[in-house]
Amino acid sequence: MKTFLKGFAVGTLILFLLALLFLETGWLDIRADVIPSPRISRFLDIATHASVRRHAAELQSPLPESSDSEEVLIAGGKLYLNDCVGCHGEPTKPSKFGATFYPPVPQLAQTPTRYSEAQIVWIARHGVRRSGMGAEGTSYSDPDYWRLAAFIRRLTQLPPHVLEAAKAPPVSSTGSSQVQSDEKK
């Protein structure tokens, strides 16, 4: 047992030194435009989901209306079309810009989210570490976060005219247009 522990201690030391050596001599592939193996990508995905499930507070929506109400969905849709499409994709077209991040930005209209509304609110407000998702913090009021989440949650199965109603009148282009101007290139 004593020799086992000695071996364990030496092995641990060597393992950490090797890991440090690997990192600090620049062998880590850091390119966002080269996708790592599907296994690693899936693992990161699982880890993020597990973390959100564990940490996100299961809050109740402060909105008086139900999340299914058209009014809520249209209001949320306007926010989405204004601020999120640059990376997360338009309801009918995935974003090329979003694909240039690693991890790639989820294209919400193509891949329905598995998160609950409360979890979506939590993610949008606090962001996701080691990803392109920044914390939106106080950019939105609390009710607006919930409108946005209601819309995103139903993005792949919206009632027919919600999208048109959200699009009209024309969305102003004065919002956070940094990303959108890149998208236009």
Binding site: R31, T100, H126, G127
Partner: protein
């Protein structure tokens, strides 16, 4: 001796499993609106720097950057980078929205060489908010951006003036 070898091999299985379990069970925090701990920055920042250095070692800027290309790069910066990386001539505001935080280039400058900056813009950096801009800029644009960013913390007032977007 046999016990020693078994003991030696165990950590190579044990610690990777601990790391995988830690992440797969969702123990790792997700919120991006906090500052990364000092130990993480101390390990990962040099790791990224070393990886950039290794990958960009064989690149060299096409020719000496001219004043024109620096200004052209500055205009691109104002259009495409400023939103996250900070506006030249404005007071410093630390990034609290991203983890790791986005470097505020006009204030901290950069230690990277022009070819290294070119490489980062083109390929992006994994597990950060820096995406790959290779598909969106031409080679010339990438190099002029690199030339500008290399000098971003020592711009002359004239340069600062001439990169401003034209008012319509």
């Amino acid at each position: 001796m046999k016990n020693f070898l078994i003991g030696f091999a165990t950590p190579f299985v044990f610690f990777p499993l601990v790391v995988v379990a830690y992440f797969a069970l969702g123990m790792a925090d997700t919120p991006g609106d906090v500052k990364p701990p000092a130990w993480e920055t101390a390990i990962m920042q040099p790791a990224i720097r070393a990886a950039v250095k290794r990958n960009a070692a064989n690149l060299s800027a096409p020719s000496g950057a001219t004043e024109d290309s620096v200004i052209a790069g500055g205009k691109l910066y104002v259009m495409g980078c400023m939103g996250c990386h900070g506006e030249p001539g404005k007071p410093f505001a630390e990034d609290h929205a991203n983890y790791p935080p986005v470097p505020q280039l006009p204030h901290v400058g950069t230690k990277y060489s022009e070819p290294e900056i070119y490489w980062i813009i083109k390929h992006g950096v994994r597990l950060t908010a820096m995406s790959a801009y290779g598909p969106f800029y031409t080679e010339d644009q990438l190099w002029s951006l690199a030339a500008f960013i290399h000098r971003i913390d020592e711009l002359t007032p004239t340069e600062l003036q001439s990169i401003q977007p034209e008012k319509h």
